[in-house]
Assembly symmetry: C2
Homo-oligomer: 461 residues x 2
């Protein structure tokens, strides 16, 4: 079986080489060369992608990446196994291994990209060595246009007349936005108060505190400020709104109101993978990221869509002075990824894969938890989705599991005892009766989670 795998690529290449009409026509028709060069290169790409996909199957429980062999000569490729799998070909299941349902590593999308043809890029040694693109910016205009096209097709954000800026994930853009909204033309004496509604993503606090700025500071939950009109009149508030929320997966809106309240809308999960899309988001400052949408977290690519020119220019200054923009390699890869997505039935393929994977996982989980009185899940109901043009089921990225028994005050510990590692509720500024379970990890991780949960629930009742 393995030797068959090794055969696949050379056979494919032989077929391309010997039977492709390009190679016969081109000898007799010189005008035909120009397009051929591109076609040959594209064949090279497909071949490369195939090579990378075929070489080592890692038993379906891991992957061998490109560094060895393809980049560093004289090395054999090495399988990197999923959690709970080991051995040189990831074929050994480690039975006393806890389910990892912690971080939001979005490997749920990996099979989509592994099965996708012609998705690789090649980057020559002299590609874009300078600091800027031809227009003097750090931003590929072609990629900006792809992003606009994408939002138009998905219908999840208004981009007309807006400014778009790139960052090292939405992570970097978050502080860029806090900087832009708190600095400068602020006649108020106090530092801006950065707030969010619990349960919220822990980075909002940890990142804001890291910078220990004179211009802004983290001030906890919006509920502390909601009815304090005098405070809201005296100080700039920056409310970070996540919609859908992390961890609950619910659509949400800003809580605070007033002239001094500015919002940063984290739209990391506002994709048909995770939520019905009721209408295009039209907020003043929206953050999007590739991580949860296509699954390319390691690319560190996010973008902000901004209404106000002054805010946009401050964010540009921030990107200039903190990292001089972001990697050209990352931008080229994202361009390819978005191009592949747009070429496949206007994005339908990727979202059908993402949605059906996440919906199936949610339904499996819900079925198990419904048998238990000890645990409950957040309530989510079907809604109409303007992208799919039909009512769709919930498909959240995370489960927000609650331990219902009076004595189960630390739900994390209860689950840990059952061999399941989630994230504690207190990480999200919520009660430790809650645990976040990540549903967007690899199929292996999800299967092990389901297995452990089933055993525990069955034993418990």
């Amino acid at each position: 079986m393995k030797s068959l795998m090794y055969l696949a690529l050379p056979i494919a290449l032989l077929i391309i080489s010997f039977f492709s009409p390009n190679f016969f026509f081109c000898v007799t028709d010189l005008d035909y060369w120009k397009p051929i060069i591109w076609r040959v290169s594209a064949a090279g790409e497909a071949e490369a992608a195939a090579a990378a996909a075929v070489i080592i199957p890692c038993s379906g429980h891991g992957r061998a990446y490109l560094e060895y062999g393809l980049v560093v000569k004289g090395h054999e490729p090495v399988c990197e196994c999923n959690p709970c799998y080991g051995g040189p070909e990831c074929s050994e299941f480690l039975s006393d291994c806890a389910a990892d349902a912690g971080s939001g590593d979005p490997y749920f999308m990996e099979p989509f990209w592994m099965n996708m043809q012609d998705n690789a890029i090649l980057i020559s040694g002299w590609h874009r060595m300078g600091y800027t693109y031809g227009d003097g910016s750090y931003t590929s205009e072609l990629l900006v246009n792809h992003i606009k096209k994408l939002h138009e097709i998905v219908g999840n954000a208004v981009t007309d007349g807006r400014y778009i800026i790139f960052g090292g994930g939405s992570t970097q853009l978050l502080n860029a936005a806090v900087y832009a909204l708190s600095s400068g033309n602020n006649s108020l004496v106090n530092p801006a108060k950065v707030v969010a509604t619990a349960p919220y993503y822990p980075l909002y606090r940890t990142q804001t505190e890291l910078f220990n700025s004179r211009d802004y500071q983290f001030e906890g939950d919006t509920s502390l400020w909601k009815n304090k009109t005098s405070d809201i009149n005296d100080t700039t508030f920056i409310e970070i709104v996540t919609s859908p929320t992390n961890p609950e997966g619910k659509l949400s809106k800003a809580v605070l109101e007033g002239n001094n309240v500015k919002t940063i809308n984290d739209r990391a999960y506002y994709w048909p993978n995770f939520t019905p899309i009721p209408s295009p988001a039209d907020d003043d400052l929206m953050l999007f990221t590739l991580s949860k949408f296509t699954g390319h977290a390691g690319t560190r690519f996010g973008w902000a869509i901004i209404k106000d020119k002054d805010v946009y220019e401050k964010m540009l200054t921030y990107m200039d002075l903190t990292t001089v923009g972001i990697s050209r390699e990352a931008q080229l890869r994202v361009l390819k990824i978005l191009n592949v997505i747009l070429e496949r039935e206007d994005g339908k393929q990727i979202f059908q894969f993402g949605y059906s994977t996440m919906k199936d996982r949610w339904m499996r989980l819900k079925q198990i938890i419904s048998k238990s009185k000890r645990f409950s899940l957040q309530k989510l109901s079907p809604h109409y989705c303007s992208f799919f043009k039909r009512v769709r089921h919930p498909s959240p990225a995370y489960a927000w599991l609650k331990c219902e028994r009076e004595e189960d005050k630390n739900c994390y510990k209860i689950l840990e005892g059952a061999g399941i590692n989630g994230y504690e509720g207190s990480m999200y500024s919520a009660d430790d009766r809650y645990v976040r379970l990540s549903l967007i990890r690899s199929q292996d991780d999800f299967d092990i989670l389901i297995n452990k949960l089933t055993n525990f629930v069955d034993k418990d009742y």
Copy 2:
């Protein structure tokens, strides 16, 4: 001639396809398949690089990048021209165009990479989608090892027993270092004072001021603090030392002394391209970057070499909370670039190219300025270089030009009048009698600069 260019790649590919022994042997020998797969892929890389290099020559005054055609189908590649060149193939010289000697865009290295075989990488659609490498870090261990090997061969930094961390250029690592050295176990009440010795790189001030932190603030030139022992005893000082200096290209050391003085050593130019290497640098915290060494500024890749574990861990936290590490695509490309360098006579090829280019440029410039009493250049003398194992000539990245006439108080304006755009001395916290001229830009930019200078000097005397 152009049609010959179009022929080169398909002919090369036909030769590879039909005459390579791989393709004949492999049919009869199944055990032979495994290495072949890698060889075929490597051929794909070379082909891709060749494709990208050959397709559009842009008259030698520009380049057509990979985005169009190779990545976005159905588009023709487009020439992006060097400054002062225009037209669809960059063949038109725009005669009333000023010489650009401003930014340090390191295109001087581009010809090296354009002429280098087998320098491309390919990245499959599913390459490293997760947040971390196999060891749970954001850092390719293989790349760390390549960096250590590189420093060992070049002899420009001690890495044994040191920690290495990556950033979005040394730009990001600079603030990470300021954060790490100023936060935490600091019993002193005052914010740390960040200082440097003029003329210094403007980012030291602008970046430090951007963050407006409670933990540190920029406090200008070291000369203001040198003899103020009581201040040095009361406050943490963070002295940023650039060696070789930007703009002058001189090796330098920290100015301040005392228990509370910490240093960040910016070693961006400590490569045989720009300076003799007397011995391996052995500072507590050193910043290196790819930009000026290989010329890949757009990759946004830098690394820090750190002695102290606590400082290293704080910098890791900083990278985690600001951008969640840096792009995997950038890391893979850097791995390839360093691998190519190490494979070519242990780095001798790249530094011989870099040094001879920069030395020739400096000698041409010096010859012109020596004819003028109106201008002078910084004094640099030959020194022994432990890498080349001989005495070598100066080859600085920048000229620090001085207007010598009493009335020429604004040297930038004088040069601007002669059609030359440099950077004002005051940008580097120095006198405006000085101008920085970048010598590391494209050959076109340098030639235009030399041309304008020659005309001005000839006319002036």
